[in-house]
Symmetry: C2
């Protein structure tokens, strides 16, 4: 990217003085916006983020509970707005009015064989001042639980995933008419009550097993960072199968006067009551279960034998919410682009929390604020970004991406036209850069990470991350990395504010954050606060600073790039891998189904059941049909070819430039503008306006959150879920649809390559 910028600078010098909203005299280096200049601005930027300031921001933002609808949530939004403005950015608050239930009644009590009433309350701790702000704290609850009052025997179902119910059937236990108790983890929490209800359960209790984020992982709070016995994970269980955002205004911004869906029967609300509890509250319930012993891999860290039930424990569960509409306040700041004001780089992190939220989201928000301040400082020093930069402090992320989704829906048309990329963060900690996102940006984020010093190791962030990947990688992956391959980025599922951008609109996105060195068990509890963060996380904000440097550098490079730095070979290679996985998935399913049926024929299950602990043989398996993957193979081949062609054209432009006088004509300013306008659409090409089967809001054909995994990404989701959910009848059609967007992408990339070749005078 940056090298091309060097080579075409001379030819472009004329167009760099396009008028912009900022005075020309503040831009002394404008006429020589070459590599070293960009480098200089980047370096100037990276010198600015200040750990001391981040600490003060955190002390301000996390001082009191600031959930949606709270007084302090609004005050924080206004304080952020003030900061943005003070730093010279053009900022405003955009308000949306959204459905946000809060608890009116919560009961979890065991009525048989003994009586026990769950506390459902996190105790204040002497050492931890903000834990005592009990008046302002939201009670422990799962937002968008169904209202209900049920009494039924209890069944333990591990993490509550579809596979867990299959395993339970093998044990001869049904959840029909029962209340299930399941663990947090392995899936997004909203999947748990949904799957429970699909299996006939009448209520769902979710608890945090100490195996997952309690004492098994270390000392508990306040002695250590892990979840104490009565710590509870709040959280939304809105059914995002349909869409995130306000359940009453799907697809449109929840502004005044917009048509709202009825609350009654709203598909985003769970059908059964759901209540989160602590392991302190869970222990008596689990200890009172009889029935078969849970499979070893289901057992947690509580000091008891995990039985599955059903019963003899019988539980009374009652949940009643106040179904109010509440305001959310997105704080939006804008730096107008000097050259391409209609090309937008969007950067966001939410500001609302479940309680004080020092880690989630303030640790990410303080980096965003320092980036904004530093960009303001650069502007003051004379820097003008070529493209428009938008900074967003989202509200209402916790209830289910309300602020970002409503904003995305409200501005959908503009964003489809203008958005180059969205860069998200959420929480931040010590350790390694974790990046997920559009694979067209994989090489870009590797290059950015190479420019950032790691605070602990003395290496660059990329070097450290690469060495960690070598330490953990397979042999093949180690070899690839040692031969200079980029550190791979993961695919995006959901769980933070990138969802609307990438999944609904098809805006190339990245989700960034540091982590991996500190564990914690305070997620969504009252203990996620300043005391915890200053004792057990990035207490000197060294990684807060690294985060601001990383994201800010990415924003500046995107904003100032001559040619937008998408690399399609990475996309083609990654999608090729996904197709390979899908083929293997079907083959694995087929082999497994054939094996199951053969074992049924051989009497394996009958022979291996223990009369004292009988198990039920599985049902006869459906043998997957052979699928026609040819359309996907052809599409991946086409994309691979066009991506290579584009990459060679870019390379030719570079080498043509380095020689100075060599080569033909350079792309003109107009050509460059056309090229970038085309490139902006590249991620949009990966969407289909009809969306995924049964969930049209999700339009991206390469990435989506899983219907039954929630946050976890499903890649080529239409095809993959047809196979995973054994809806083979629709798999071939989904292969064709996925192939179609990839063919469209290949055509776009070919067109872009052609533009470069024509302007570069290359002899093809």
């Amino acid at each position: 990217m940056r090298r091309l910028r060097v080579t075409v600078t001379a030819a472009l010098a004329a167009v760099l003085s396009i008028p912009c909203g900022l005075s020309a005299q503040a831009s002394p280096t404008r006429q020589a916006a070459d590599h070293s200049t960009t480098d200089r601005w980047e370096k100037a930027f990276r010198a600015i983020p200040d750990p001391g300031r981040m600490r003060r921001y955190m002390e301000r933002l996390a001082a009191r509970p600031h959930h949606v609808g709270s007084e302090y949530d609004k005050q924080n939004a206004e304080w952020i707005l003030e900061r943005f403005r003070a730093w010279g950015l053009d900022a405003k608050i955009e308000r949306f009015d959204v459905l946000f239930p809060t608890p009116e009644r919560r009961v979890v009590e065991m009525v048989e064989p003994t009586r026990f009433r769950a506390k459902l309350r996190e105790p204040a701790l002497k050492a931890d001042p903000t834990s005592r702000q009990q008046k302002e704290q939201l009670p422990t609850y799962n937002a968008y639980s169904g209202d209900g009052d049920v009494t039924a025997p209890l069944v333990y179902v591990n993490y509550g995933l579809p596979d867990d119910y299959e395993r339970l059937e093998r044990l001869g236990v049904s959840v029909e008419g029962k209340i299930v108790i399941v663990k947090y983890g392995r899936s997004w929490r909203g999947v748990k009550p949904k799957v429970a209800a699909e299996h006939g359960a009448v209520g769902c209790i979710i608890y945090s097993d100490p195996r997952d984020d309690g004492f098994f992982g270390g000392d508990v709070f306040p002695k250590g960072p892990m979840r104490p016995d009565f710590g509870v994970q709040r959280g939304s269980v809105m059914d995002i199968t349909q869409h995130p955002g306000d359940p009453l205004t799907p697809g449109v911004g929840a502004t005044e006067g917009v048509q709202r869906q009825p609350l009654e029967g709203n598909p985003s609300i769970q059908r059964i009551p759901v209540q989160p509890i602590s392991y302190g509250d869970a222990q008596p319930l689990l200890a009172a279960l009889g029935g078969p012993l849970a499979p070893p891999e289901w057992r947690g860290a509580l000091p008891l034998p995990y039985h599955v039930g059903a019963g003899p424990a019988k539980v009374h569960l009652a949940v009643q919410s106040n179904w109010d509409v509440k305001p959310v306040y997105d704080v939006i700041a804008r730096i107008e682009g000097s050259e391409y004001p209609d090309e937008w780089i969007v950067r966001g992190n939410h500001h609302d929390a479940w309680v004080n939220g020092a880690e989630d989201p303030v640790s990410g928000q303080v980096a965003l604020l320092e980036e904004a301040r530093a960009l303001g400082e650069l502007l003051h020093q004379g820097w003008r970004p070529r493209r428009t930069i938008i900074y967003a402090a989202w509200d209402g992320e916790e209830p289910m991406l309300l602020g970002s989704t409503e904003w995305v829906e409200q501005h959908a048309d503009e964003l489809r036209k203008h958005a180059v990329a969205y860069i998200n963060s959420d929480t931040n900690g010590r350790g390694y850069l974790r990046a997920s996102g559009s694979h067209t940006l994989q090489h870009f984020i590797n290059e950015v990470a190479a420019s950032i010093p790691d605070p602990e190791s003395g290496l660059s962030v990329l070097q450290r991350r690469r060495l960690a990947a070598i330490a953990r990688g397979s042999k093949a992956e180690r070899t690839r990395l040692r031969h200079g391959g980029d550190v791979r980025i993961g695919a995006l599922g959901s769980g933070s504010d990138f969802t609307g951008f990438i999944d609904h609109l098809g805006v190339a996105s990245l989700n960034l954050g540091f982590g991996g060195e500190d564990q914690g068990g305070i997620y969504h509890s009252i203990y996620d606060d300043i005391y915890w963060f200053m004792h057990f996380s990035d207490s000197d904000f060294a990684y807060g600073r690294a985060m601001a440097q990383t994201v800010g550098t990415a924003v500046i490079r995107l904003a100032d790039a001559e040619v937008l730095p998408y690399r399609f070979t990475d996309l083609a290679q990654t999608v090729g891998t996904y197709v390979k996985q899908l083929k293997e998935l079907v083959e694995t399913q087929r082999a497994k189904a054939l094996e199951t049926n053969q074992e049924l024929d051989e009497g394996v299950f009958a022979a291996t059941t223990d009369p004292r602990r009988p198990t039920v043989a599985p049902a006869r398996a459906v043998i997957p049909p052979h699928l026609n993957f040819a359309p996907l193979d052809n599409a991946v081949d086409a994309l691979t070819r066009s991506a290579k062609r584009y990459q060679e054209a870019r390379k030719a432009a570079r080498s043509g430039g380095t020689g100075g006088a060599a080569g033909g004509a350079r792309p003109s300013a107009v050509e460059l503008k056309r090229l970038n306008e085309l490139l902006i659409q590249s991620e949009r090409r990966l969407t289909d306006p009809d969306g995924l089967p049964g969930r049209p809001w999700y339009r991206h054909m390469v990435y989506a959150p899983g219907e039954y995994s929630g946050y976890g990404a499903k890649t080529l989701p239409g095809v993959r879920e047809a196979i995973e959910l054994k809806r083979y009848d629709r798999a071939d059609a989904e292969i064709v649809r996925a192939a179609k967007v990839l063919e469209a992408e290949a055509a776009l990339v070919d067109e872009a390559a052609g533009m470069l070749e024509d302007s570069g005078g290359g002899a093809r």
Copy 2:
């Protein structure tokens, strides 16, 4: 085997009336000892074992504690002797006098940061009558612990294996001068204090983590079968690196007047004090540890974060034993062979226990007793075994195979000449036949298992076991089994009375027992008693009966076989697998060493250490040299060829026989006798009189207990341990030694094949 018996019967009819100790008139079927006759005797045998009697034997034998040196141990031996005699067997007691330490002083107390004194005592339980016999119970202790009185900081070292100490070093923690606390499991317990002392520890505490046999596995005793909070595993920690058996009389029977080694500096006794404790006693100690958090895979099921220390917990450990010599009483019964009295089938199970020992060893002993009674009954009905059968109820197994080892050493010369096979059992439960042993007997035990009905499934024991192997097996293993391959048997390590037979003398051995359906946590505790067994194990003795039927059938077939049923192709195939594993082991070590060194060069370890939780980079790895496996490859090839030749010769003898008039001469009685005498030596050929490096008592070159795993088998142990322990300098020489015994075996098998071919008139 049995088919051959049919074909050669006519030719052999003349020699079958060899005079024997039993009157001819009691043997009406003697002259027609053909297939159907043998079958009829087997069937008659299998109808005899009676669950009701087994229950009564258990009620007698487990009624009181009966450890070595106790009054009831002697009484049980005398009672067994009486039974054997009452059933018509020629029985006697053989007594040996052996070193058997019992505890005089045991202290485990925490002196810092708080004071806590471990109970070291298993409480009597109301529900469980024999748990109250506290006067007769041995206290909780580890026999052959070093005497000592030490006070030092505590360090937690997982299971106390060599790898665990390597991991601990990576955490920057040393055990030099410390007391270690380690978990039972993953290795034989005696390895734990040995390795601890090698690393400089001054004391060793071993506890039973509830993850391994406590509440994690189910309800605890007396509600369920698992270990309750103050249940303790007693056990010997005699260092069996040198040899099992009496530490004062290595290599010879501990009879009166034999020269005894001094106690002082005896290498079989641990160098540091060792004490076993319950998880109830361990919890306060572990909870008081600081320092790094233990790696996740080290953490158990106690409700606390597992730290490794060292300290701040400081512990006072004192152990003092009474080093008395005590008598052990082996009860030996004999049925003289009618035809080959000098060919012995030996069958044993110990009778001593740590406390009441209903499961260990009485569940196995009651099957042995019913076998003996049933054989007596057959004798009464007129059956006369061709070969001599010896039944042994061993004493002193628990302290470290004292009774069987002294007997083997005492009778070594006779056994080397006469022993055809040794069949061992120890404990027995519900489920699947578990067989380990000499691979020459793999096919034989498969055939036996095919004749035994499984009490639960309605299938044969073999069918059930085969289907379970299919359910659990790899794809390749499933295919092999589905194509009629035998269920594989495991290699023998140590841990029961087969050790002297196979490892010291080279007697082909089998260790048999049913299990897999019931878990338990009462091993070596006062709760291994009748109450536990009748609630949580084979309470109707259905599997006790199956066990007696299985072993008795094996004994009868071995005793009556025309040609001893060793199958050398199984040995050749299995040893070939072992050689393959060794090659892979070196390659894996080499790849790992190269990778470690490359990562050191690249700075991976420096890059991935967390300054708040620093780790230490590993030392530069030694790259394994390339070894010359050719001698082993050649030896396996030779054995494979000769085994095939032998098998074909056997087949030819069979087909020659089935045709009746077809084929040439049959082996004469003299030829058969010579053949069997040769075959008896086949397992002996696998031994080397110099024994394994550093432990000459262990003479078998194919199977041995591991120097650092204890009970776990090491196959081709001289070579394997040279590689595993990175003593590469001796690996090539060990390959040659192992190859030599395999070549000798091949020569023996060739000779046997030649004998068959000559006698069968086959044209080779």
